[in-house]
């Protein structure tokens, strides 16, 4: 990491402010990146990192502020201008056309033609090959995107920017979906790129990666510029403190566990994803009453499909799932919820968890509307439905306190409270929580964690799936690590550390 040319300021953003209506996403932010530098942009979810980079890439217009690229002041009003000035961006959600080939995706918008707009496929392919060899980004130019691994897709995204002659690359959460091996490869690629004189901006909220990859780090909190530091001069704890604005409390307070009888027993479970690939592959797992079992793992190792199968949303190919000794394999969701007392905080609360157009009261009875408490014959008992809502709103502190508000008008944290209220009030024996704090602010995260611990203390079983290792380590009693659809190790939370789990997550073995 010695490729920095301090005499050359590749990017100079000063006084950037961006407002969405009354909401200030960026307030007077400054950012300078030199040639050959890797600059990390650190902040919590929703801190305004992506907004700032979307401004640099011309996807958003700043409300005020000034941008200089290579010393020249520019108004970047659309991505075309950014591209022309050597800026490339790799988005967190890849921007790829699935049925197109690698080459087609890379040349799209900048196609080589034989004149009259007729595509010259061979020329594009050759060019793609040349660039990928130059920077060590191996990928088959003829492969279709839909057949590639996530790591390869990311390489295609990087190639896309290089094909357009990018000198400044923005990588938005580049490691979120990668395996440790793939992360290593990415680090090597980044080194190649900086040695070739490119500047790289990495958006992230992962501290260890900043230490691993970046030269400098700018910290943003609630849309404001907090600090810019030389990474070699600070510790991870320093960075964390700047990011959240207070000392981070790690462990969630909870008394010693007292596990009871076996509540969940998964035997040799196999599940296919929508493409027909076996993503849960002979998985075994047991969970007892009164414990929180955390499943650690990198996104895409079968967690989503596992949970969908446990809750009846997806069919198992083979294997068996038992709840309190009774077989629930491939039962419909309604049966699993009501006959077998399984609650589920879903991974995607917008897609699964809530009917946005329903009001709070209606959402709170999504699983129980037909029960005698809420219906009589064919008719709904609206009086009881709203009484129930008022009780739960009070008990779970859902704001604003108005049962007639549509779910979509609530904040993310309150939407999650609504889901927790619904699931917990249905008195489950087993509560499955998938990514329960995704996109929530610190206060809401604490609330969710306490709710999970409270269930455990009442003697319920809690299965927690999260991609955030910190969360798993803070909340769980035991930690199971999932890798390629199998549980590759189970550790007691007390003697688990990041290194051990990290190794398992990457497909290594815990035995040394």
């Amino acid at each position: 990491m010695t490729a920095i040319d301090f005499s050359h300021r590749a990017v100079e953003m000063s006084g950037i402010t961006k407002k969405f209506g009354d909401f200030v996403a960026n307030e007077n932010i400054n950012l300078t990146v030199h040639r050959g530098e890797v600059h990390a942009l650190l902040g919590e979810n929703g801190a305004g990192k992506t907004t700032l980079m979307n401004i640099l890439y011309g996807l958003l217009k700043p409300s005020s502020g000034n941008i200089k690229i290579n010393g020249k002041t520019l108004t970047i009003s659309d991505p075309n201008i950014a591209i022309r000035n050597g800026i490339g961006m790799v988005h967190q959600h890849f921007m790829l056309v699935e049925p197109f080939s690698v080459t087609e995706n890379i040349i799209l918008g900048n196609e080589s033609t034989r004149g009259f707009g007729i595509l010259d496929a061979g020329k594009g392919e050759k060019e793609v090959k040349r660039i990928s060899e130059q920077y060590g980004l191996t990928v088959d130019p003829k492969a279709l995107i839909q057949d590639l691994s996530v790591g390869s897709q990311q390489r295609v995204e990087i190639l896309k920017t290089l094909y357009r002659g990018a000198q400044i690359l923005i990588l938005d959460e580049p490691t979120a979906v990668l395996t440790p091996q793939e992360i290593k490869e990415l680090v090597a690629i980044i080194t190649n790129l900086t040695e070739a004189g490119k500047s790289i901006i990495i958006i992230t909220h992962k501290l260890n990666e900043i230490k691993q990859m970046a030269d400098f780090c700018t910290i943003i909190r609630r849309g404001r510029h907090i600090d810019t530091v030389d990474v070699s001069e600070v510790t991870e704890e320093d960075l964390a403190a700047k990011m959240v604005g207070r000392e981070v409390s790690f462990r969630v307070a909870k008394e010693k566990r007292n596990p009871g009888e076996k509540i969940l027993d998964i035997k040799e479970l196999c599940v296919e994803d929508s493409r027909g690939i076996m993503v849960v592959n002979g998985l075994n797992l047991q969970l007892r009453k009164g414990e929180i079992l955390g499943i650690a793992g990198i996104d895409g190792n079968g967690q989503t499909q596992l949970i969908e199968t446990l809750t009846g949303l997806r069919k198992a190919k083979s294997g068996r799932i038992e709840v309190l000794g009774k077989d629930i394999t491939n039962l419909p969701p309604g049966k699993i919820i009501n006959n077998h007392k399984v609650g589920h905080i879903p991974e995607d609360r917008q897609k699964r968890g809530l009917v946005f157009e329903f009001n709070i009261a209606e959402n709170l009875i999504l699983e129980t509307y037909f029960k005698p408490a809420f219906s009589e014959g064919f008719s709904l008992l609206h009086k009881n439905i709203y009484k129930n809502a008022d009780t739960l709103i009070e008990k779970f502190d859902i704001r604003p306190r108005d049962a007639t508000l549509q779910a979509k008008s609530l904040s993310g944290g309150n939407q999650q409270k609504m889901i927790i209220a619904r699931e917990v009030s249905n008195e489950p024996e087993l509560l499955i929580a998938a990514q329960p704090t995704r996109g929530l602010d610190v206060g809401a995260i604490e609330y969710v964690h306490q709710a999970l611990v409270a269930q455990r203390n009442e003697g319920k079983g809690v299965l927690l799936v999260s991609f955030e290792l910190d969360e798993i380590m803070n909340v769980s009693d035991r930690i199971a690590v999932i890798f390629e659809g199998k549980i590759v190790g189970i550790l007691d939370a007390d003697d688990a550390d990041e290194k051990k789990i990290g190794l398992l997550m990457a497909g290594g073995t815990a035995k040394e």
Binding site: Y57, D78, M89, M95, I118
Partner: protein, 317 residues
């Protein structure tokens, strides 16, 4: 000549004739849906095209001018649909329904003004010609009313339709423009980040779909028959839409599907003319039944463009 060969020629000939309007319109459907915009208003655009083609051909006595104006008329309604769907994020099916009312309503409105209160035009003096006609007849290369005459001596629109199938295929799969259209239909966000103007591509595609539907309407009113009437286009646009889906959003697939629908019509007419005591209604029903069966048989319904019907909002701009 064997009468059975001649009968076959008759059936193929009528099949081609009745498929042609569907082929044009179906191609329009392929273009718009490939860009990610559903166009259920093809029916109304076709209806308007049929009228505009016949009216202009009647007054100008030039069928080619009629054909062009039909296409432009269809394109106008395409523009309206594009404004609604692309610029104002309209629900695409709802906007299409509106276009069906508007296309048919305005065609009949203008018809009443121009043709003395009638909901049909007068017969045009010159239809779309049969360009190969000089080859057939007494002392020519081929005898008239023979198999070759029945099959190959067709209206210019028939050849044009087949040629356009090739053109649309070529443009979609072999050119820069086509690649961009397909990319916009699959993943507009991705296309946008690469500097492709999603709005412009979609406007172009939706307008072109109207253009093609207009051609389809005129292929009916000034080739298959020689005037427009209020019952001339009744559901053809919807059939073309189904053919496009049947053909898996591909021009060549749509062609095959349209030929199937045309063949059913050809067979129905043939059997009717022979007085064969087969229930013509049951026969006419078959292609629709077949379409449903084939749609059910599709394995993996991932052939539709991924972004179809979804509103693309660039957000800030």
């Amino acid at each position: 000549m064997e009468p059975i060969i001649q009968d076959l020629g008759f059936i193929i000939g009528t099949t081609l004739m009745y498929s042609t309007p569907l082929i044009f319109t179906s191609l329009g459907g392929v273009i718009t849906e490939r860009s990610g915009v559903i166009n259920i208003g093809l029916e109304g655009m076709m209806y308007f095209g049929a009228f505009a083609g016949a009216a202009v051909a009647y007054f100008s006595q030039d069928p080619w001018l009629g054909l062009l104006c039909a296409a432009l008329g269809g394109a106008f309604w395409g523009l309206i649909h594009a404004i609604a769907c692309v610029s104002f994020s309209a629900e695409q099916i709802v906007s299409g329904i509106a276009i069906n009312f508007l296309g048919a309503g305005s065609a009949l409105f203008i018809s009443r003004l121009l043709f003395d209160g009638a909901t049909q035009t007068l017969t045009v003096a010159r239809k779309i010609p049969q360009p190969l006609d000089f080859l057939f007849g007494e002392g020519k290369m081929f005898a008239s009313s023979g198999f070759t005459d029945l099959v190959f001596n067709r209206f210019a629109t028939v050849y044009l339709a087949f040629f356009l199938v090739f053109v649309v295929w070529f443009v979609l799969y072999k050119t820069q423009l086509g690649m961009r259209v397909r990319a916009v239909g699959e993943n507009p966000e991705a296309a946008n980040t690469l500097g492709i103007n999603v709005t412009r591509i979609r406007y172009g595609a939706v307008i072109m779909s109207g253009f093609f539907a207009g051609l389809g309407g005129a292929a009916m009113s000034i080739a298959v028959v020689s005037r427009f009437s209020n019952t001339l286009i009744s559901g053809h646009g919807f059939i073309a839409l189904a053919a496009m889906i049947f053909g898996k959003w591909k021009p060549q697939g749509a062609l095959v599907a349209c030929l199937l629908f045309g063949a059913a019509k050809g067979l129905e007419i043939f059997l009717g003319s022979k007085g064969v005591p087969v229930a013509g209604d049951i026969l006419a029903m078959l292609p629709y039944v077949l379409t449903i069966i084939i749609l059910i048989g599709f394995v993996g319904k991932t052939t539709a463009p991924a972004a179809i019907g979804k509103i693309f909002d660039k957000g800030d701009h």
